[in-house]
């Protein structure tokens, strides 16, 4: 599938692609044509991404009571949110989830991608195995979460086999509806976002570099740390951006898998929304957005991914 390759060795040569158009269209029409073609995308993103986010920013300064929200300019939505210990604890908890899930998905994702890229020799087999890894991404997240119930439940597969084997005397309670379950489900849902970009960059590493390193006497481990990992950084960065933003904004996995016993920023917002406290949720949203964008900016500072796009 074409999705596997987001490569661009040509972005720095725009002229190569501009040529046929220049000959086909009168010169004055060309810029117009580009704008017409880009217009639908710009309109949709403007209407359903940009304006909604601006609305959030606006509403975060509004007043509200238990029934409705009022246009106003107040700052207590922010001062209340930032002044509360609960908020800080929830942010800390969300960072904890993010860090753990990021570490696990990176570890698993890298080795899966590495195996596919360097150990599978036929391209067909590579594509088939890659598809096997991506197909679950195209199925329902909620159902994939539900599907952990028969495993982790009180009478689930894990507990009943542990009891039968005599390892534990009574069912383990922490398996389902716990932070353990949240992390497990997130790793289950989000590892694919790591595998795909890392696989992409690994596939583009020139194999002769590895040969050269081997000829120069590098051990397998040295090749990994000095050649492969540095060259895989852009893919790792893209995967990390995906995973970090997904976990930071997650509310449904936390709600379903922790059974209400754990909290995240997204869940806090979802609760405020269900109580119709839209301005408070909006203030939270603005803070979350700033935090997420700062993290993304930090990742982009460390790794230059422009070559990847």
């Amino acid at each position: 599938m074409t999705t596997t390759d987001l490569s661009a060795d040509t972005t720095n040569e725009p002229d190569k692609f501009a040529r046929p158009f220049r000959r086909m269209w009168p010169k004055s029409i060309l810029p117009m044509l580009s704008y017409l073609q880009a217009m639908p995308l710009a309109l949709i993103l403007g209407l359903f991404l940009l304006l909604p986010i601006l609305t959030i920013a606006m509403v975060s300064f509004w007043d509200y009571d238990s029934v409705r929200i009022y246009p106003d300019f107040v700052t207590f939505n922010y001062t209340e949110t930032l002044g509360s210990w609960v908020t800080w604890k929830i942010y800390l908890n969300t960072f904890k989830f993010t860090l753990i899930v990021w570490g696990l998905t990176l570890l698993i994702g890298f080795w899966v991608a590495y195996f596919l890229a360097f150990h599978i020799r036929s391209t067909t087999m590579q594509m088939v195995l890659f598809l096997v890894c991506t197909v679950p991404f195209l199925t329902s997240n909620i159902i994939r979460m539900i599907s952990w119930v028969p495993f982790l439940g009180r009478n689930g597969l894990i507990n009943s086999s542990l009891i039968q084997l005599g390892i534990v005397p009574k069912p383990l309670e922490f398996l389902l509806f716990s932070e353990f379950a949240v992390v497990l489900a997130m790793v289950h849902l989000y590892t694919l976002f790591m595998v795909t970009p890392i696989f992409n960059t690994l596939m583009r590493i020139d194999r002769s570099l590895i040969e050269a390193a081997r000829d120069a006497g590098a051990s397998g481990f040295q090749i990994l740390t000095n050649v492969i990992i540095p060259l895989a950084k852009p893919g790792i960065a893209i995967g990390s951006i995906f995973v970090v933003t997904l976990v930071m904004g997650d509310f449904i996995t936390v709600r379903f898998m922790s059974g209400g016993q754990s909290a995240s920023v997204g869940l806090m917002m979802a609760n405020q929304i269900s109580l119709l406290q839209y301005p408070a949720a909006a203030a939270n949203a603005v803070i979350l957005l700033i935090v997420v964008l700062l993290i993304v900016a930090a990742i982009l500072r460390v790794v230059d991914i422009r070559k990847e796009l």
């Binding site: 599938m1 999705t3 490569s7 190569k16 501009a18 040529r19 046929p20 000959r23 269209w25 060309l30 580009s34 073609q37 880009a38 639908p40 995308l41 710009a42 949709i44 993103l45 209407l47 359903f48 940009l50 909604p52 986010i53 609305t55 959030i56 606006m58 509403v59 698993i108 080795w111 150990h119 036929s122 598809l131 096997v132 679950p136 195209l138 199925t139 329902s140 159902i143 994939r144 952990w148 119930v149 028969p150 495993f151 439940g153 009478n155 289950h188 951006i241 995906f242 933003t245 904004g249 997650d250 509310f251 449904i252 997204g266 917002m269 839209y278 949203a285 979350l288 957005l289 997420v292």
Partner: protein, 273 residues
């Protein structure tokens, strides 16, 4: 396949990969099996007989909310999202082949559509409609919410396609006297058709399963994932698994159909030359 001996690293990683695949598919397989529970069976093993009881239960309206209606809405919404995603991504891909003022800005906007947490999009669209005094509905605000998720993928795929697309074919067509439309219709379009199916596949499946962005943007009537989520809180029978099985099988069928189409188109192109 190969005569040279595999290294120890290969076997360790192959084992790890197998575990990963089991981890990916194992849970799903269990609910497939458990959805065939007998009428007295519960949410976990053991199986109390085998039956199609829970599947028939699924189609009784009162038992599990509005399965038929929400499925129909999700289908229509998915098809609408697919068509718009394919057309808009293709146009944007064509536009991005040339530099134009604001092209980088638009590209970053598309990327941020992926990066902004879903709950923000959901809340934002919900508030936006509320402030404008428009009632949100699955086919208006819901559609917009889905497009913020599917379009970036579509645009990235088209980006990748056109980055590897050599303009010599178009030049050849032009030299043979084809006009701009003919070049597009008879040269470019057939060549990128498999990728467009890929974009469509992403558009449909991502929309069909989308939950977080739809939550506040769907209005009164639920889409299928919203309906399923509602069920998780009050349904405690294997009918939940039957629903999971039915919708997952549907997803798999869509994926298989799209992949087959991509392979067939690719073969045909290879044949023609």
């Amino acid at each position: 396949m190969h005569s040279e001996t595999r290294s120890r690293e290969f076997y360790i990683l192959a084992f790890f990969f197998t575990l990963f695949v089991l981890f990916l598919y194992g849970p799903l397989t269990t609910i497939f099996i458990l959805s065939f529970q007998g009428p007295s069976g519960g949410l976990t093993f053991p199986m109390n007989g085998m039956s199609l009881h829970w599947f028939s239960n699924l189609f009784e309206q009162q038992a599990v909310g509005d399965f038929g209606g929400s499925f129909r809405r999700s289908m229509i919404l998915g098809l609408m999202t697919t068509v718009i995603t394919v057309v808009v991504s293709l146009l944007a891909g064509l536009a991005f082949r040339r530099k134009f003022r604001g092209s980088m800005l638009l590209f970053y906007l598309a990327i941020s559509s992926l990066v902004v947490p879903s709950i923000l999009i959901s809340l934002g669209i919900g508030l936006f409609f509320q402030v404008l005094g428009i009632r949100p509905a699955w086919w208006s605000s819901g559609l917009g919410a889905h497009l913020t998720w599917t379009l970036p993928f579509g645009v990235l795929i088209m980006f990748a396609v056109f980055n590897r697309f050599s303009p010599v074919y178009e030049e050849a067509a032009r030299d043979l006297g084809a006009n701009a439309w003919q070049t597009f219709r008879h040269v470019l379009l057939p060549m990128i058709a498999p990728s467009l199916i890929g974009v469509g596949l992403f558009g449909f499946t991502l929309s069909y399963d989308e939950f977080a962005r739809t939550l506040m943007a769907a209005g009164t009537f639920n889409t299928l994932p919203l309906e399923i989520y509602g069920m998780t809180t009050n349904v405690t029978t294997p009918v939940l698994y039957a629903l999971g099985t039915v919708t997952s099988v549907f997803s798999f069928l869509v994926i298989i159909a799209a992949l087959t189409a991509i392979i067939v188109l690719g073969r045909r192109r290879a044949h023609v030359g």
